[in-house]
């Protein structure tokens, strides 16, 4: 049984800012391919891109562009579970993570009663909270946004401090057992603005 994974064009622009749904499914399969000793391999993946700008005293302090992954990899053999958490998703890293999880399995107790536990087979949620304009908030647009947001404070002779960020991520979870993959996940967009105004002293 193989879960159907609809391709969502708005989410996967191929610019590598964060893992797509297809990347996540492939990652689950790769992890399973490295597993030795039977059982299953569960992955929970959160892959994100964050663009942000931060200002105080009416001037930009810094802005950032951060790409990050959180991968929880769990090997389950006869009900014994062992997890490794990492943020690198290349082959060597995943291979090493599977080996470490299996190494730590030696310290676990087996629980046969949960041997056949499996995740529900669900399709990806459609990313209807996706916002293309937010995804296009690049360095220049964030700087312009900061100017707009602090304009009123500047006009009033006050000091503005603030922060704006845009976060895009894919959250996936899946289990592989031999060649069978199941995956579920959602892609989302978050845009957040926080500002403070205060007197010069």
């Amino acid at each position: 049984m193989t879960a159907s994974v609809p391709h969502v064009a708005t989410e996967d622009r191929g610019d590598g800012r964060f893992l797509s749904q297809a990347d996540c499914v492939a990652l689950i399969k790769r992890a399973n391919g490295y597993a030795v000793g039977g059982g299953g391999t569960e992955l929970s993946i959160e892959s994100s891109w964050t663009g942000n700008i931060r200002w105080a005293r009416n001037a930009v302090l810094s802005s950032g562009d951060v790409r990050e992954n959180d991968v929880w990899l769990t090997r389950i053999v006869r009900g014994a579970r062992s997890s490794v958490v990492l943020n690198v998703v290349d082959d060597a890293a995943i291979h090493a993570a599977v080996r470490r999880a299996e190494r730590f399995m030696a310290f676990q107790t087996e629980h046969y009663e949960i041997t056949n536990r499996k995740l529900p087979d669900e399709p990806y949620a459609h990313p209807d909270i996706w916002s293309a304009p937010t995804y296009d908030l690049n360095a220049e647009r964030l700087a312009e946004s900061m100017q707009r947001l602090s304009r009123a404070a500047v006009s009033a002779g006050m000091l503005s401090a603030g922060y704006e960020n845009a976060i895009f991520n894919t959250i996936s979870a899946g289990m592989s057992r031999n060649t069978v993959s199941q995956a579920q996940g959602i892609a989302r967009t978050v845009r957040r603005v926080m500002t403070t105004c205060h007197s010069p002293r």
């Binding site: 930009v60 950032g64 310290f107 690049n138 700087a143 922060y163």
Partner: protein
């Protein structure tokens, strides 16, 4: 579904410092003489880089790309944080690592590379977890693009304080890398420590079920820093954090009882296996906490608090918390300048140029020193995250505001002061970051309240007080957004009356209500060096938020006419 394992969440869960770790041969070789862990050696490499030369090549590629793209200054940091958490126990409870079943070892690893570029007084920053030659120019170009866009939108006239280029490697001396100890050995050791004391407890209590466990987390942080000024250095440090738990249960109808005791051991410290593996010390600590519960202090009568002004004697742990809440964050120059107005909070010291060197913030007894060099303390490094050798300096000197905590960026704000004093503008070395995935900013160094030269103890300060209140433990502390006012005490605090030089009844609901400068100006006696206590504290600031750890050390303090409020009173 997300199970993002942030550092904060990890701390909230009652465990250690940073997060993320697992095992592969170190990618930052040359940081010490240890060979790779037997566990890690059995795993293939986590990234394709194999030696320090490769790491340096990555760093230099990023620096060259940033310089070529137009950065007037740039730095790159590569960090690798690995963490292992073990739980092991002894006894008949097979629950949560208590008893013969081990808790699951947890294993985290996080890589990071962050490039920071400076153009016309503005920073740009880009980071990811990809340690590849292709990734470096991508990050550098993005950081420069960010800085350029920011400079165009709001140029700032800031010059970075000069810094001498440094090269080299550093690791704390005498530390045994816990990641070189096989997990079997760690678990056997932990179980062994837990077994003896709780077995004794079980025999004395004649209980049916008993268990003991030690939950300990080891973290190793390795990082490389390169700058366009010619700095290239690598560093490594460790933290250990542990908690001991004992538990018993009697199920017979006529003697049913249940007890659970916990104590931090070793707490969060910047040490490795050498510190935790002292079996005699660990057992003693475990037995002490069990005995304390087995033979509790005689019941002390309780009285409600009578609000007003009292001479207050604070134990060293309470003084640590006060120091952290009043001076620790307030003397960070970026907070004083308002940079944290939208995030971690500002400072009551909000006019640095007119305050530095002149403002009386404490009594002449009060001197607070900052350092990043004390062995075993959490902020200790050889170089800060801008390659500056951190200074040891007096923040408060004989009660006067003497220095702010600075970085290369913020130090330039104090140029007029340094010019008047005839000294060059310089960073005091407070730059840091949670990892390379967070931008470098000012973080609090280790803080020490200088002890009295006389060898006075907490009991001596109490003995010298005719009528007053003693704060033995701090309970819940909090401070306002500027660290100008705050409280310690309230629920969970152990507060005692002082009558004729002796500790008396327990006072319920008492809170020490303070205004920072008035409090420290009222300090009339301090304990000596032998009464000092250290504990871990955390600096949380920035957007996105980041947290770093530091160590606070203080001695008992006696304050004159301090305000005592009733935490239980409702308006």
């Amino acid at each position: 579904m997300s199970r993002k394992f942030t550092r904060r969440r990890f701390l909230q869960a009652g465990s250690a410092a940073a997060v993320l770790g697992a095992g592969a041969p170190s990618q930052l070789r040359g940081l010490g003489s240890h060979s790779p862990s037997p566990v890690r050696a059995s795993s293939p490499g986590i990234v394709t880089l194999a030696d320090e030369t490769s790491v340096k090549l990555l760093a230099m590629r990023a620096i060259d790309a940033a310089r070529s793209a137009g950065a007037s200054y740039a730095d790159v940091r590569l960090t690798r944080i690995i963490t292992e958490r073990f739980q092991a126990g002894a006894g008949t409870f097979a629950l949560m690592g208590l008893g013969p079943t081990n808790g699951a070892p947890e294993d985290y690893e996080r890589l990071g590379v962050g490039v920071r570029a400076f153009i016309d007084g503005c920073w740009g920053f880009a980071a990811s977890a990809r340690w590849t030659m292709e990734e470096m120019p991508v990050l550098a170009a993005q950081a420069v693009r960010q800085a350029r866009a920011n400079a165009k939108a709001s140029p700032r006239r800031i010059e970075l304080a000069p810094a001498t280029a440094v090269t080299g490697s550093w690791a704390p001396p005498g530390v045994i890398d816990p990641f070189l100890v096989p997990p079997e050995e760690k678990i056997d050791f932990l179980r062994d420590v837990a077994d003896g004391p709780v077995r004794k407890l079980a025999l004395r209590r004649q209980v049916d079920q008993w268990g003991g466990a030690w939950d300990i987390t080891f973290t190793r942080l390795e990082w490389a820093l390169a700058t366009t000024d010619g700095t290239y250095c690598t560093q490594r440090r460790y933290t250990s954090d542990g908690k001991l738990t004992a538990l018993y249960n009697s199920i017979a109808p006529n003697r049913s009882s249940f007890g659970m005791y916990e104590t931090d051991y070793p707490g969060l410290v910047a040490h490795g296996w050498e510190y935790c593996s002292d079996v005699a010390l660990a057992r003693t600590r475990f037995e002490t906490v069990i005995d304390k519960h087995y033979h509790p202090d005689p019941e002390i009568s309780r009285i409600p608090v009578d609000v007003g002004r009292y001479d207050v004697v604070c134990s060293a742990p309470v003084a640590c918390q006060l120091l952290q809440q009043t001076i620790g964050e307030a003397t960070e120059l970026d907070r004083a300048l308002g940079y944290e107005a939208n995030a971690g909070g500002t400072s009551f010291l909000n006019d640095p140029l007119s305050m530095i060197g002149t403002l009386q913030v404490g009594s002449p007894l009060v001197t607070v020193t900052a350092d990043r060099s004390t062995p075993g303390h959490l902020a200790t490094v050889q170089w800060d995250d801008e390659g500056v050798v951190p200074s040891t300096f007096d923040i408060i000197k004989a009660g006067v505001m003497n220095e702010f905590q600075t970085t290369r960026e913020t130090a330039s704000y104090l140029a007029p002061y340094y010019a008047k004093r005839g000294t060059p503008v310089r960073s005091l070395g407070c730059a840091g970051a949670e990892s390379a995935l967070s931008i470098t900013m000012s973080h609090v160094p280790n803080l020490t309240l200088r002890p009295n030269s006389a060898d006075l103890s907490f009991d001596d300060l109490v003995r010298d007080t005719k009528r007053g209140i003693a704060f033995v433990t701090a309970g819940i502390g909090s401070a306002d957004f500027q660290n100008k006012t705050g409280v310690v005490g309230g629920p969970g605090a152990q507060v005692r009356e002082i009558v004729n030089g002796k500790l008396g009844r327990m006072i319920t609901g008492a809170q020490l209500l303070y205004e920072s400068t008035k409090l420290w100006k009222s300090a009339i006696a301090l304990g000596g060096a032998a009464s000092a206590h250290s504990h871990a504290a955390f600096s949380e600031k920035g957007q996105p938020s980041q947290t770093t750890a530091y160590t606070v050390t203080a001695v008992p303090v006696k304050f004159k006419d301090a305000s005592i409020a009733d935490a239980t009173r409702r308006a």
